[in-house]
Amino acid sequence: MQSNVFNHFYLATCLLCLSLVTGCQSTPANKSAILLAQQGNFESAKQAIRTDYSPNGKSKLLHYLELGMLNHLQGNYERSNRLLTEAQEIIEAQYTISVVESAVALVSGPTYTTYAGKVYHRPLINLYKALNYNALANRAGPNKQQYLDSAMVEMRQLDTYLSNLKSETGGYKKDTEQAPTSDQLINKIYRIIQPIFAPSDLLVNIDYKDDAFAHYMSGMLFERSEELDSARIQYQRALSAFENGFAKQYNLDDKKITAQVYTDLIRVMTKAGGYHNEIRKLKKKFNHAPRGAQLPLLNVVQNVGIGPQRKEFNLLLKADNESKALVMTPILWGTDKERKAQMRWFQMLFADTSIFDMVQNYALGDIGDVAMGALTKRIPLGSLWDDAEDAGLIQALEYGSRISVTYLEPLQQQVKSSEVWVNGQKAAELDKIYSVSLLTLQDALRNANSEIQVALTREIIKAITAQKTINATGLDQSFAGFAKFATSVVNAVTASADLRQWQSLPAQINYVQIPLTKGTYEITLKTHLTSGKVIEQSEAVDVSDSITLWHTRTFLHQSRVTVPESTFL
C-alpha cells in the first residue's frame, strides 16, 4: 500500500515537472521581430517572421500582419498595403468556421486552428492601410488623387465593418466563437464544469463594441479629402462613442477628447454649411466656442511602444474524492514577476475568493478549503459526481491533468508625458486616444471564461479517451497504471494555450491637434518616460493643406530614431 502511494506520488511529480517544462515561457517570433525592429534591424525582423510564420500555415494571418506592419514602419507603403490586404482577406475567409478544424482543435488544442485575429484588428488594418495610401499620395505627383481615393476606400470599408459590429454587439456581444457540437460527452462535461468561472457580472463593459478612435481618424481623413459630409458623420459617430463609454472603457481623458471632437465637428459643419441649428445646439451643449480663426491644422499621431504579450500559465486539475469536487491549482512558473502575475490572474478570474465560493467550500469541505480558496478553484460536483464517474472523468483524472490558459502581465505605465515642440518652442502635450494594451487585456479577460472552459473540456476529453482506450486493451493493473501515466504525460505535453497575436501593434496611441500658419516647421516629439529618460524625434513637416497628419512610432527602448518610421502625410 505504501509502495503504491509512493508510486503515485512519484508519477504525479513527474507529470508536474513535465508540465512545467513544456509550459516554459519562450519569446514568440513576432515579439522577437518587433524587438529587432525597435533596434532598426528590419531585415532580421522580417526574416524572423518569414521563418516562423508560413504564408500558408495556420498562423498565416500573423505572417501578413507582422510583415505588413514592419514594411509600414520601414516606409515600404505599397508592399505594406499588399500584405495587409492579404491579411484582410484571411480574416474575411474566417467568417466561415471549419467544423473539421474545430473538431480537431477540441481534442488537440486551439493552436491547431487557423488564427483569425481579434475583432479590433480589422479597423486597425484599414487605418494603417489608409495611412500608407496617404503617405503614397504625398510622394506621388500625378497619382495623388488616386491614392487619396484609395485611402477613402479603406475608410468606407472601416465604416461598413464598424456598422456591422455595432449592430451585432448591440451593447454586449454574444459568444459566437464556439462552434456547435453534438457530442454528448462534450455537452455533459460542459454542464459539469459550468459553475466554475467568475460571475459574469464581474466582466461587464469590456466588450469591443465600437471604435471611436477609428471613427475619429476616418473623419480626419475624409476632411482632408474635402468629403465634408462623410467627415461630419464620422466625427459625430466618434463623439457619440467617446461620450457613451469608449473613453471610460479605455481610460482616456473624456473631457479633452470630446472637446476636441466637438471642435472638429463644428468646423466641418461650418465648412459644409447649412447646419446652423445643429451648431447652435452643440455650442449650447458644450458651453464653449471653438477657435475662431481657421488656421491649417497639424494633427500629430504618436504610436507608442509595443503591445503587451500574451503568456501562458498552467493549472493542475484533479478530482477530490472526499469533497466530490474537481480542484484546480495554479502551477506558477517563470520569473518572480511572472509568477506573481499568474497568481493574480488566477485569483482575479478563477479562484474561490467570493463570499459565495467561501461558503460553498465551507459547506462541502472543511476550514482548510476555505483558507485555500485564494490558491485553488474547487468545482463542487454534488449530484453530478456519479455522472462524472460514469463518464470516466474521476478515474481519468487520477494523475491530474494540465490545463493551459493565457494571461497578461499587469500593464505598466512607462510614458509619463509626450510633448510636441514646434521650431524649438513647446506647442502642446499629447493625450492618449487609443490603448491597444487595454484592448488586449480586456479581450483576454473577456475570453478567459470561455478559454478555460474549452481547455478544461479538451483535457478532460483527452484523459477520458485515453482511459477508455486503456480499459479496452485489457492490460493488467500494473501496466494499466503505467499506460495511464504515459497518456497523462502525453496529454500534459500537448496541452497549450493560444498565444498568437498581432505583436507589432503599439501599446497606445497619443494625439494632439495644433493650428499653424502654412509653412515648413521643425517638429520635435519629446516623450518623457517614467524612468526619467526622454526620447526625442524630429522631422521637418510641411503644413500646406488645411489638414496635415504627421504620424510616428516611438519605441521606448531606443534613444534616437534612426529609421524612417515617421510619415509626413
Binding site: T85, V99, V100, Q145, D149, N164, S167, A472
Partner: protein, 204 residues
C-alpha cells in the same frame, strides 16, 4: 465485445485517414475565356468593368449630341477622358475601367478619342526626339494635335448592406460628358449593379 474492441482499434486509423484526406489539397489552374465571368466574391470584377463600359458608351452615343456635332462640325467628335473617381468601398482598378471605356468608344466608330495628359506629354517628348533624330520625311510636326471637343468624367460609388452572412453590394457608376466649348452637359449616364453574397457561418 470483440467487435467493440476492433472498432476501438480501427477508429483512430479511420479518423487519421479522414483528416489526412481532408487535409490534402492541390492547386489546379485552368484557362477560361476572358469574357466569362468568374465571380468568387461580390467585389467589382473585370466583367463588371467591361459590361458597365459598354452599356454606358452605347447609351452615350445614342444621345443627340453626336449627330448635332456631325452636322455642325462635319467630323466625328473627339472625346477626352478626364477622370473617373473611385468613391466606392472597394479598390477598383480605375485604369482598367478607363481602358474599357476607351475601347468601347473606339469600337463604336462614332467618336474619336484623344489621349490624356500623361500620354500626350510622352508623345510630345517623342516628337521632340524625332526632330533631332528622325529623317525629315518621317518626322511628325509639332502643333498638329487634335483638341478634344468633349470631356468625359465620372464617379464610381457603392453602398453595402450586411446582415449576418448576407451582403448586398450596390455599385453605381455615374458618367457625364461636357462640351468643352460651352460647358454644356450633353450627356449624363448611370449604370447600377447589385450583387448578393451569402456566406455560411459553418463549413467543412
Amino acid at each position: 465485445m470483440k467487435c467493440n474492441k476492433t472498432l476501438l482499434k480501427i477508429t483512430p486509423l479511420i479518423v487519421a485517414c479522414t483528416l489526412a484526406v481532408s487535409g490534402c489539397s492541390s492547386t489546379k489552374v485552368q484557362r477560361v475565356d476572358a469574357n466569362q465571368e468568374v465571380a468568387l466574391s461580390d467585389k467589382w470584377n473585370g466583367k463588371d468593368s467591361q459590361l458597365v463600359a459598354e452599356a454606358m458608351i452605347n447609351d452615350m452615343l445614342s444621345f443627340p449630341w453626336v449627330n448635332d456635332h456631325l452636322q455642325k462640325e462635319g467630323q466625328r467628335p473627339a472625346i477626352i477622358i478626364q477622370s473617373v473617381r473611385n468613391k466606392s468601398h472597394q479598390h477598383i482598378a480605375v485604369d482598367t475601367f478607363l481602358n474599357d471605356l476607351k475601347r468601347a468608344i473606339l469600337r463604336s466608330g462614332q467618336a474619336d478619342f484623344v489621349a490624356n495628359q500623361d500620354v500626350r506629354l510622352e508623345i510630345r517628348e517623342e516628337r521632340k526626339d524625332q526632330e533631332l533624330n528622325s529623317s525629315l520625311e518621317t518626322q511628325n510636326e509639332m502643333g498638329q494635335e487634335q483638341g478634344a471637343d468633349y470631356a468625359l468624367s465620372g464617379t464610381i460609388n457603392s453602398f453595402v448592406d450586411e446582415q449576418g452572412g448576407s451582403r448586398v453590394t450596390f455599385y453605381q457608376v455615374d458618367l457625364r460628358l461636357i462640351d468643352m466649348t460651352t460647358n454644356r452637359e450633353v450627356w449624363n449616364g448611370q449604370k447600377k449593379i447589385q450583387k448578393l453574397q451569402k456566406r455560411s457561418r459553418f463549413g467543412f
